[in-house]
């Protein structure tokens, strides 16, 4: 489905991604874990075309997407839920959702299709239906996250990139959101790349995980094994060093 080969991305002089290679199979949920500044967000932005890599190759469904601008990548079926949600605050909830379908208005499919998908998003997040006329900026953090996910779904992505959807949210809301992700994979076969600080929850949901450190992939493993991995437990799952190594 998605394949990154030897990706190098720079911010000016800063070498943010150092020959990163990874892949996602169709229908998989894969999570990226790592500390702040490890390059998790940069990987997502590199895939989306926001920060194109200096060299390396990205194949989506077998075709290279490295040189494409973000709108062409969205058109191919890759949508990102950006870090910190970034909903369009002065616009209504519904305007936000319709913006998610921006490219589809021009394509041949009818507006009826788009309206149906709008219904589906409202079905997924009934809370958004209640608030559809409100300015997105007036929503709570959890609602904004739901809106950001709903907005990305309006583009009908085959690959969904999520950047820290649990950031700053109450545990119950995080559960709700993860439940929706699970459902998306089951019912629509959506492939999901999930960046998370909340490594434990992410690894429980995901099939596989990649561990990033200072711009490099240092570990790739089935999620359940990563949960058991002692080094991962110590570094990312909040276990004490004593608990693990000096028992």
């Amino acid at each position: 489905m998605l394949k990154l080969k030897n990706i190098n991305t720079y911010y000016g002089q800063v070498h943010a991604l150092k020959t990163v290679s990874m892949h996602l199979n169709k229908g998989e949920i894969v999570t990226l874990i790592g500390a702040n500044g490890a390059g998790k967000t940069t990987i997502l932005n590199t895939i989306s075309g926001i920060t194109p890599p200096r060299d390396g190759e990205i194949l989506f469904e077998g075709e290279g997407i490295v040189k494409l601008p973000p709108d062409r990548i969205v058109r191919r079926g890759v949508s990102q839920v950006p870090e910190g949600r970034q909903v369009f605050k002065p616009l209504s909830v519904e305007d936000n959702l319709e913006l998610g379908a921006y490219l589809r208005y021009r394509s041949r499919e009818g507006r009826g299709e788009i309206r149906k998908d709008l219904e589906k998003v409202y079905e997924l997040f009934p809370r958004l239906l209640e608030r559809r006329k409100q300015m997105a900026g007036t929503l709570s953090g959890g609602e904004q996250q739901m809106l950001a996910i709903g907005r990305a779904l309006m583009a009908k992505p085959r690959l969904l990139l999520l950047d820290e959807p649990s950031m700053g949210l109450a545990p119950l809301v995080v559960q709700e959101i993860f439940r929706v992700l699970e459902m998306l994979r089951h019912e629509h076969g959506t492939t999901i790349l999930l960046v998370e600080q909340n490594a434990k929850a992410a690894l429980k949901l995901a099939d596989r995980g990649y561990v990033l450190e200072t711009g490099k992939v240092i570990l790739e493993e089935v999620a359940s094994e990563l949960l058991e991995n002692k080094e991962v437990q110590r570094a990312y799952l909040g276990r004490d060093k004593k608990e693990i190594w000096e028992r």
């Binding site: 709108d71 319709e98 809370r127 609602e143 119950l172 809301v173």
Partner: protein, 358 residues
């Protein structure tokens, strides 16, 4: 706390969900049509107002001022598309206005070209120029964009002054013919009033249409967060350039009208001060409000007539207005409209009545 409650309320909501969903979607269709109707109604009322205004203003002098209100309205609307919707500042729009005026002026007065054709040539040329300049310039943001457009405006202004052979330099270009339509020559204030306002009404219709389309929504998205907009699949760079070009093109048409109405153009009308005045019009009226722009243009055109005593110090007063507006009424005058409406409504109905509307 709010998050916790949210989950609780989601469950009972699901029970009635099929019903609420269909109901609300029907309501949604309805509200869209309602919105469209309201826009049309607004436009119709405004058109009637424009048509009838000359009856109230029999005095030629006032009519003359109203002609300029019309021209300035086109300019303010054009700038509002860029500044109020796409969120990109331009301090060089007087330059595009001037280019329209001078291209029309030179083609008709010096080369005897048909005025209508000249207007089209000018609009095309300015539109293309803005499109080409737009690509590099709109990569800049905020202060840098302001500086770059400021520079552009100044370059154009200097060109008007220095190319004496072509433009007549600082002393201006005279002998520009009036526009004609068949045997009708637009040579007095009343005729010009209807001529200019026809264009203004078309510009309003165009702008309202654009603002309510998916493009308008995309522009507002760019205004809020360009990165997020790009992630939605909006080609933000190209869209900004397109709006910049459209905005410049509208200014050029306003410039052509100005040239033919005045029959004389001089560089002084297209300087930096006027660019600032345009920004003031848009902000006073309200960013992102088309009718607000007309209101802003009207106020800033009528104000100098009232402030005759201050003559050269009027720019200070504009500055003062700009400061006060941004401090106390950042949404512009139109943002006071809902307040007025609710005040009116509050007098007639009980306070609860306003809630049903929302």
């Amino acid at each position: 706390m709010a998050e916790g409650r949210m989950r609780g309320s989601a469950a009972p909501n699901n029970l009635y969900f099929p019903l609420t969903l269909t109901l609300s979607l029907r309501e949604r269709e309805f509200s869209r049509q309602y919105h469209l109707k309201r826009e049309l109604l607004k436009f119709a009322i405004f058109t009637i107002l424009v048509l009838l205004l000359p009856l109230a203003a029999k005095e030629g002098y006032i009519l003359n001022v109203l002609v300029f209100v019309g021209i300035h309205s086109i300019l303010a609307i054009a700038l509002n598309l860029l500044l109020g919707y796409a969120g990109q500042i331009s301090l060089g729009h007087a330059g595009f206005f001037g280019l329209g005026a001078y291209i029309s002026g030179v083609l008709t007065a010096t080369h005897g070209q048909n005025p209508w054709l000249a207007m089209c040539y000018a609009a095309g040329a300015v539109g293309i120029l803005a499109f080409v300049i737009g690509f590099p310039i709109l990569k800049l943001k905020g202060h840098y964009l302001a500086m770059a457009t400021l520079g552009l405006g100044i370059i154009i202004y200097i060109l008007f002054n220095e190319t004496v052979d072509l433009t007549g330099g600082p002393s201006g270009l005279s002998g520009i013919p009036n526009l004609t339509l068949g045997t009708l020559t637009f040579d007095n204030d009343l005729k010009n009033y209807y001529l200019v306002w026809t264009f203004t009404l078309v510009a309003i219709l165009l702008a309202v249409n654009l603002a309510n389309s998916r493009i308008g929504r995309a522009l507002r998205a760019i205004h809020d967060s360009e990165t997020a907009a790009r992630l939605m699949g909006i080609n933000a760079r190209f869209l900004k350039v397109q709006v910049f070009a459209l905005s410049a093109l509208l200014c050029s048409v306003a410039g052509s009208l100005y040239a033919h109405v005045m029959t004389f153009v001089a560089p002084a009308s297209f300087g930096f001060n006027f660019s600032v005045e345009l920004v003031t019009m848009v902000i006073i009226g309200g960013l992102g409000s088309i009718y607000g722009s007309v209101l802003g243009a009207a106020i800033l055109t009528l104000l100098p007539e009232l402030l005759r005593a201050f003559q050269d110090y009027d720019i200070i007063i504009y500055g003062l207005i700009l400061i006060l507006m941004t401090m106390f009424l950042p949404g512009g005058l139109v943002s006071m409209a809902p307040v007025f409406m609710s005040l009116l409504r509050g007098r007639r109905k009980q306070p609860g009545g306003a809630h049903a509307e929302a």
